[in-house]
Amino acid sequence: MNERKSKDEYGRTIRLIFIVSLVFFSLFSFILWKIDNSRAERVRMAALDKLMPNFEWVLGPLRGLSSISEGIGSYSNLVKENRELRLKLQKMRDWREAAIRLEEENSQLLDLNNVRVNPSLKYITGLVLSDSGSSFRRSLLLNIGAFDGINDGWAVVDSSGLVGRIFGVGEKLSRVVLIIDSSSRIPVKIEPSGKKALLVGDNSLRPPIEIVENKEMIRSGDRVVTSGDGNVFPSDVLVGHVIRDADQRLRVKLVANYGRLKFLKVIKTHTVDPSDVLGEVITNTVTD
């Protein structure tokens, strides 16, 4: 009897040690993640590469179901939408005429001034696999990755406007941090005044913009486009339009259709590799 009791005691101690070591293991991985964040995120992307196919057999049918329910919802709106669309079409016809006229005029003027136009932007299209699954982090996974030539930091757009940027690339998938995520800061330009500003994500669908000076020059309805500062983003990608909220704060009504993000385009841009820059700085100081 006594022997058995001591054996139990022994087992309990081993167990305790085991649990404590597991807790330390988790804490250790957390500290590693904190210290070497970029490497840990790369490990995470590699793990996701392996894990996501396992989720596919549940995700696939669920995705199908959600698209069916979406379809039913849109059918019920069809009549109303049709009427609205017809009205819009009427207006658009006028606009189209005007646009064609302006484009002709514009190209003539550009030709007169000998302006060199930006080479057309190239893009890769990907399918949205999943979202981040938490309301705190607004991000998505795309089914294209390093294999397709995706790089960190590239801009991601849907058919109408900026959605986010690539943050984390795996072999076969990449993570997109949306511009509404609270960690997102995008340098933008407000047209027609040309003011530079910062689009600050705050987890809402109407992110605020921060401007240093001359707020009076900005009107509701002004276009917000990326400014291309910092050489991360291409310039002149449409983001949205300025609106004022109840506190007279300037916010952006995004043009990208956040309700239906399915196919996204990743715009290829030439980015400066930070490691190269660092090397340059070091050699400079040494030679100096």
């Binding site: 087992g11 904190k34 995470r44 894990l51 998505l140 609270s182």
Partner: protein
Amino acid sequence: MVNFQNIQSWIYYVKYLMICFIILSFQLLPMRIVYQEVLWPNLIYLVTVGWLIRKPSYLPVILILFVHIISDIVLLKPLGLWPALSLIGYEFLRWRSLSQGRLKLGQELVLVNSILILLTFLQIGMELIFKIESPPMGMIFLQLAFTLLIYPIVIFVLHSILKVRHFEGSETVGRGMSMENL
């Protein structure tokens, strides 16, 4: 006899893995960008806790840790922080239900909720110490409240659908806190 019990525990392990897997898949569905004002409660915590109170010897620590690490990876959270904190809470609950016997429903609710609140505050504290950008406080507390409210439903699902129930009398004999259920 030993064999039978082994099979039984394996069935429980598989059930736990499946339910966590399904929860994660639902959270990953890409349709809620607009509807994200509705917060996901911490369902994995609730399932684990409900399990540990009902069948404390049928859920190994390794399995819990595995599920939590996977969910950290997939849900893009800070790796390892929540698993480390919650493991302590889980093991306390396991010890409590193995040594002090069955809890009344009211006691269970109070215990589970207070542990979750404590763990959440610990997590916020750690995030502040390590200067990790944490979500706005309002959202955290909303999620907390939501999680607390939904616990009875999770108990119901565990009890009636997954058949994770309290032990009946003699079942507990022979499976105490020992090496077996590491």
